[in-house]
């Protein structure tokens, strides 16, 4: 082979880096640039004009734009936190159950668990909107059989966001269970046997052996669950429209309203930048915390 290793490195990396540049870096740079402009999405980029930090000051101001964005951001963070707090422990519990010797070869159970992830979110949203129906919904009817008064679910600002979290948990748990099962299979049998010889059993075995060795899998699952949760859109667009009283208005849906419905491309870009910065900071913090723990 002729040519220096450096030339070959550039040559071999250029297709993938080129694609990344076209589909990731350029749009990102464009969004950063647009966030400092006043620009209607219905006009060419040349029509944009520089307003400095104008969009950001509006977002952090006390007007309706700032108020609605802050509420959307808070809703998204609550939704993400609730989703992760429920999904991760549940998926680990189910994975431990599936990893038991008696169920280890039960592919049907795994398929059933994973199948919820394969159902398109649009279909999930439609079905759950009917399940949650206050008057005729099966959930309230079932609650009525055991003497519990009907709940408002999506019809109250106190419960609407949590109802969407439940929908997310139902859909995503199967996927994270499969990841956790894969993590469990990676634990060396020698460590398991050594722990058993040392007398580790039950919960003590789980806390001292299984969970620490699942750390990498859980870190990956946590980050994916966080990114998935921040990107929530379909159930809000299809069922709640961000209501009632903006209680389910999440950032993706809000940015669509501002950027596309109202054509305020500059403002929408500034909002997207803030979300990206917050998400980047959160992911970095999680990695840093995980890194410190593994060093310790």
């Amino acid at each position: 082979m002729r040519g220096s290793p450096r030339t070959w490195t550039i040559l071999l990396l250029s297709p993938s880096v080129g694609l990344l540049a076209v589909f990731v870096f350029i749009p990102m740079a464009l969004s950063i640039w647009l966030s400092f402009q006043q620009w209607s999405t219905q006009t060419p980029f040349t029509a944009a004009h520089w307003i400095g930090l104008g969009n950001y000051s509006e977002i952090f101001g006390y007007g309706p734009v700032g108020r609605d964005f802050r509420q959307a951001l808070a809703n998204t963070l609550i939704y993400s936190a609730e989703s992760i707090v429920v999904i991760l422990p549940l998926s680990v519990a189910l994975a431990v159950l599936l990893h038991q010797a008696a169920l280890r070869k039960n592919h049907i159970l795994r398929t059933v668990l994973f199948s919820t992830y394969m159902v398109p979110m649009v279909a999930v949203a439609l079905v759950w909107s009917k399940l949650y129906s206050p008057a005729e919904g099966p959930i309230n009817q079932a609650l009525g059989w055991i003497g519990i008064a009907p709940l408002s679910w999506l019809s109250s600002p106190d419960t609407a966001l949590s109802s969407l979290v439940m929908l997310n948990v139902w859909q995503q748990t199967g996927y994270f269970t499969v990841l956790a099962v894969a993590g469990l299979t990676q634990i060396p049998t020698t460590i398991i046997e050594a722990a058993r010889i040392d007398g580790a059993r039950g919960l003590k075995f789980f806390w001292r052996v299984t969970l620490p060795l699942l750390r990498r899998t859980l870190l990956f699952s946590g980050i994916i669950a966080l990114i998935n949760a921040v990107q929530v859109f379909e159930p809000v667009a299809m069922i709640t429209q961000g209501g009632p009283v903006g209680s389910t208005n999440v950032v993706t849906y809000h940015i669509r309203r501002v950027g596309i419905e109202r054509s305020e491309g500059g403002l929408g870009s500034a909002m997207a930048m803030i979300v990206m910065l917050i998400l980047g900071a959160l992911v970095s913090a999680i990695f840093a915390a995980a890194g410190r723990r593994s060093e310790a």
């Binding site: 667009a237 299809m238 009283v245 669509r256 109202r262």
Partner: protein, 458 residues
Amino acid sequence: MFFSQQSVVLLYLTAAMIWRLRTHMARWTAMVVVCAFCQGWTLSARAQNPTVTISFLTHWPPETVAKLSAAAKAYMKDHPGTSIQIRAVPFADLLTTLRSQAGGSNAPTLASIYSLWLPELVRDAIVTEAPEADAAEIRKDWSESAVTAATVDGKIYGYPNEIDLYALNYNKELFAAAGIAGPPKTWDELLADAERLTKREGGHVTQQGFGSINSWAAGVVHPFASLLASNGGALVVDGKPALDSKAATETFGFIQKLIDAKVTDPSMGTADANTTGPYLDNFIAGKTAMIIMANWWESALRAGMGQHFANVATAPIPVGPSGNGSHAISYSWLTVVNAAASETQRRAAWDFLRWLDSPESGQNGASAMGDLLVSMGILPSRQSDVAAFSQRLASNFLAGYVSQLKAAQPFPVVLGGQEFTDALQHHLEAMQFGQERAPQAQAQAQRDAASILGNAAR
């Protein structure tokens, strides 16, 4: 079929004849001559019969889309050069679809839009002005309010189609069971009747006297605006928000009274992206005695209630203490043509619209558009349609709306109108769910509106 049967037979015979020629040279020469002939024939056929494809974006339900498709099919039969595709999306996605696809190759050529969106679509050059001949026809054959709603800066941008307005719908059976003889005429009567019509079980409302909608901007704001208009007020006066008026204070106060009296349960009033959901289900199930709603939900009520639809009656909006009479809020829709479409597409689109909205496309003097609107319980805006459907519009349900049309006030069509509506919706819903009291909601709604309309006007 791509080829007709005759073409296939002719092609086979030609190929067989060429094959019988003795030399390769002769065969090739014959093939070139035949190909050249075919090419010329195709080009000449295309020149005589140009094909243009246009698409029509709407949010109408499947049964109405089927009627529109049938009308398009009838038009295509007489205009073989035009192909029309119908696309339907949920109401909540209509504006987004229109805006996000506006300049693209797959953009809809025609779209049915809410008049409130028109000023911004004109500002962003998404819709095109109607040709002079069409504009003249619209001015001549449509009601003045419909023409006004389709006009920006003196220019007409589309064919008006539907006119909707709000009225009080009530369940006669529930009224009779509560011993109430007729619908309320004033706010005091409305509150008193709502109290008598509300039923509770262990603190839980099982039947609400008055239904308030939430999670749908127009469903929240239009009934409020109708009450405000019937109290002598308006949302916007001379392009500026007027939510700080005395009439508005009384209207916010009246909404608060309904909430405090617990005669309205917001959990029974939620709407979804298709503008259906619990608010509709509860009225259909006889769990909501009164609600302020637009005429277009007639088809949903008929479908959901069956023979019980006869229990539904329509009455004017009850009048407030400062009001001089009942004034419903009306709003319009129109069909517009995409400014980014090609010249041929735009010509075909206006031609189709002209036909669809004319008496030639329907029966008994009605237009095809009028026919499909009336099938949903929507009032048509072309005067000849109103005359052609006079019997249908005299039905128990619709007559109550038609009688209010003259005194109705059009919803203000201003730049930033949708954002203003969203902001007002937020504060009215916050009142419904106990997050804000009337004075706070009113003050914040006025502040938001001033900021939004001020920014939009810049």
